[in-house]
Amino acid sequence: MANITKKVSWSSRGDDSALTGEGTPLLNGTEIPKPSRKLSGSGSVFRIGRFSTVDLEDDITSEEDPIRGRPKEIPHNEKLLSLKYESLDYDNIENQLFLEEERRMSPMGFRCLEISRWVICGLIGILTGLIACFIDIMVEKLAGYKYQVIKENIEKFTEVGGLSISLILWAVLNCAFVLVGGIMVAFFEPIAAGSGIPQIKCYLNGVKIPRVVRLKTLVVKVIGVICSVAGGLAVGKEGPMIHSGAVVAAGVSQGRSTSLKRDFKMFEYFRRDTEKRDFVSAGAAAGVSAAFGAPVGGVLFSLEEGASFWNQMLTWRIFFASMISTFTLNFFLSIYHGKPGDLSNPGLINFGRFESDSVAYYYYEIPLFMCMGALGGLLGALFNSINYWLTIFRIRYVHRPCLQVIEALLVAAVTAAVSFTMIYFSNDCQPLGPEHNEEYPLQLFCADGEYNAMATAFFNTPERSVRSLFHNQPGSYNPMTLGLFTLTYFFLACWTYGLAVSAGVFIPSLLIGAAWGRLCGILLASFTPTSPIWADPGKYALIGAAAQLGGIVRMTLSLTVIMVEATGNVTYGLPIMLVLMIAKIVGDYFQEGLYDIHIKLQSVPFLHWEAPATSHWLTAREVMSSPVTCFNRIEKVGTIVDVLSNTSTNHNGFPVVVQVLDSDEPAKLCGLILRSQLIVLLKHKVFVELARSRLSQRKLQLKDFRDAYPRFPPIQSIHVSQDERECMMDLTEFMNPTPYTVPQDTSLPRVFKLFRALGLRHLVVADDVNRVIGLVTRKDLARYHLGKHGLEELQLAQT
């Protein structure tokens, strides 16, 4: 049972006194033997009083652990769960209001709902496509302008001397763009940093990440990504596109914007977490599909990342949204490119088409591809490990916004400096092609009529570099150039991911992979001079790109389809699949995927597909939180307000119990009510006394709850007078009368499955006579995870 001793060793570097908390009786534990204590109105107030810090310390004096009094502080690490994340309410609350509304609704009404779901999906697709189009055009314009200016400058100074000035100009221009993006992100909306895929993954997993689907986030994200790509960082715009799609979906489906304070009185039925989350998965799919021109890949991405709640109709609707988004992007890009009506323009990233004579591959190449997959897995694991340490450092030391902006600026400047030095010292000169594939050919010290090959890789937006690596003629790059490029770009990309700028990691990964893949192809061709036809460098660049990307993000199904769709040929389906599979196997042996690392470092209570493998011996009794703060069916307003405003226990769900009149009987579970519902009730002053005095008072409807969604006011903003505190509130009508419960001996995997499959937020643990003895929430389940030394437990922390 060394597992468990190990378990405690990580939690605080040898500070064992604090660890006794795991083993010592918890303060509240002492109350457990009598969970049936009175829950009458006055009793509750008393009990809540006991949780205040004063009482806590009183109790603690009797125990041997003096540290318990004040919260212990440890440096941030990956083994924490943050309190700021809550679950989404995916489960329907079937209270009386809901039933009433359903009864009132005609069959026609339901049909209209179904139609409006389709309309919303269409709108999501259109808007996502438009945003993708906007980002694409802006990046092209700004980057074009920047490279033009620098190119002219370099040309001028190559002749007269003073190229270090060009270097400074390049760095300054980069910094200027990144400054705008960095300030937007660091000061206005930190959640918009990074690619956004981890956040969307969490959202689809059922975690409510604060502010992740707000309009402000969208604006910051779009501007941020334009700035960071135009600023020459080693980033792509595909990840942010997925986030943008999700925000669009969350916004459109609500028919209003809380930020703009505009309510279009549309789609009011969809103002619930259940519906919103379905639409967000459609939005994410639309984002993928716009980013890569891969509608099926988009659907599969949603399926892979958020598939616990899935049905055929939803899949079909999501597919519709993806298709519409690709179509919209194609349509508007065709107008922009001056070929209106040409809908064959693929997504944001255009890998170009592989010519038919180079697509062939032979059986003897498959082992080679598999080796490349393993290499991709290794490099991906290295990338992730470096990025992991860097991110921990950033969270611990670079947490102030101004420092984050400075860091981003430094990265931008160094990127320019390194690129310039590489180009400056490169001796790889290639003749200019007849059709001018190179957007901004730099001559520098090459002979007239030739260009610097290193510059096509560095002096370009990353996407164009990927394309030229895939499609340029064999022989347009020296092996030396490619090797140096891979090495530099690997570290640049690794350093860049996790900065406070909106930026994706897809394109940099593809670029690194394409570079070393092409290198492999060139080397293979040189080893076998007799038949160099099969070792087409473009083909190996594609396989390398797939391997590297798979090694970093560890997606499988959706990534295969995305790659196949983005390159527009199914021929490479098998090699790409094999490569991604092997990259994942090899990479997982060393390190998790990049997105999972970032989810962990954000301390998100993320539920994986299955409970940890060796957890069957844990029962609900050990997992649950206890004791539970309950309410009576008819509860005093003062009690409710006190419980809700207690900052130390920020509970969101409260079991409702019914007290049999003679007080000896234990209180039995009869329902569950959420904080948000209580707040709405308090706001509308739905008190028993008032209802009696004012008969004309309008009855509260489900609409009132929806209007408050999703930003329920905090309890502090609700004023309850002293007189009102004495009133009573009847929760019968509003609570969920049939919450899910489990017996206390249920094993952890069973609880986990229930949670994951039904999207629960609270699971009541009841004993044989239906008394509440505990409550399982997401954080209780997410804290168990299989570490290197067996089952480990994460700690809760305030972040």
Binding site: I74, L163, F445, C446, M624, S625, S626, E793
Partner: protein, 307 residues
Amino acid sequence: MLPYNLYLFFVFVAIDVPSLKCGDVAHLSASESADKLEAVPSLSTAAVSSPVPAVDTGFSFSLLSSFPEDLEVSDYCSDLLHIFGQRYVAYVNCLVPAARPVKVCQSCYSTYGSVVEIYKNISSDQMGPGNVTCRDSLLRSDRLMLVYQLYSNLESLWEDSNCAQCVTGDLESLTNDTLYFMSTLNQTLTCFEKYQQGNHTELCKNCKSAYGTLNVLYSQMEKNSTLCIDIEDAMNMTRRLWSKNFNCSFPREENVPVIAVSSFMLFLPIIFYLSSFLHSEQKKRKLIHPRRAKSNTSLMNIQDKLS
């Protein structure tokens, strides 16, 4: 229409050559249908190929020593064919010596013009003397379509070389741009020749202006897309002379400032990270102790119980 034609076809094939009166009609309709029936080439070409005899009968089969007159190519057409052959040969004779260094446009545009002219005649609809048109009989009476193939080869050569951009529309003379470029080129080359002996740095210094003018002119023409292969090739050769032979490219002589500036920039992040490591206070997380059920069920104790 189609079935009728087909019908005629079969009639024609079945009756074969001796049907005299209707031969003309049959011929016409047959070749017409050859156009329309491209979907079934084997049938149509098989049927139509027989009426075309070789003009030079020297190597014709003894069995088919000659076709009846109606099917023979008229004298007018064979004359045209002859002229075409002569001009074709003239053009090719002109092209081959102009292959390296490329001068295909400037030296051969007039001969190309004559080939185009004769081909125009052959392919025109207009009736020649004797009310015959040679288009059908010369150009598309057989599967090989030799005349057409030969001509289209030349045409694609002409297009690939972009000569049309250096020659006036009527193929009479070179454009003024081209002539101007050639004269500028000549100036540069004479300059090169003048300083070729001795030190190349001298050449680089003295010919720089001439070479620069040429370069500017070239990029201007590139923008206007008035380049043809002659100019491109001449420019390529000049550039190679300039860069490789005379070594007049810009030297890489600013290593020190570039290295200094970039290492300064590389140095900044190190300072940044060090200072933030030393001066920024480390972010701590407050641990929250969850409310759990009674102690004897905690992990530790379960383990004890199990063991």
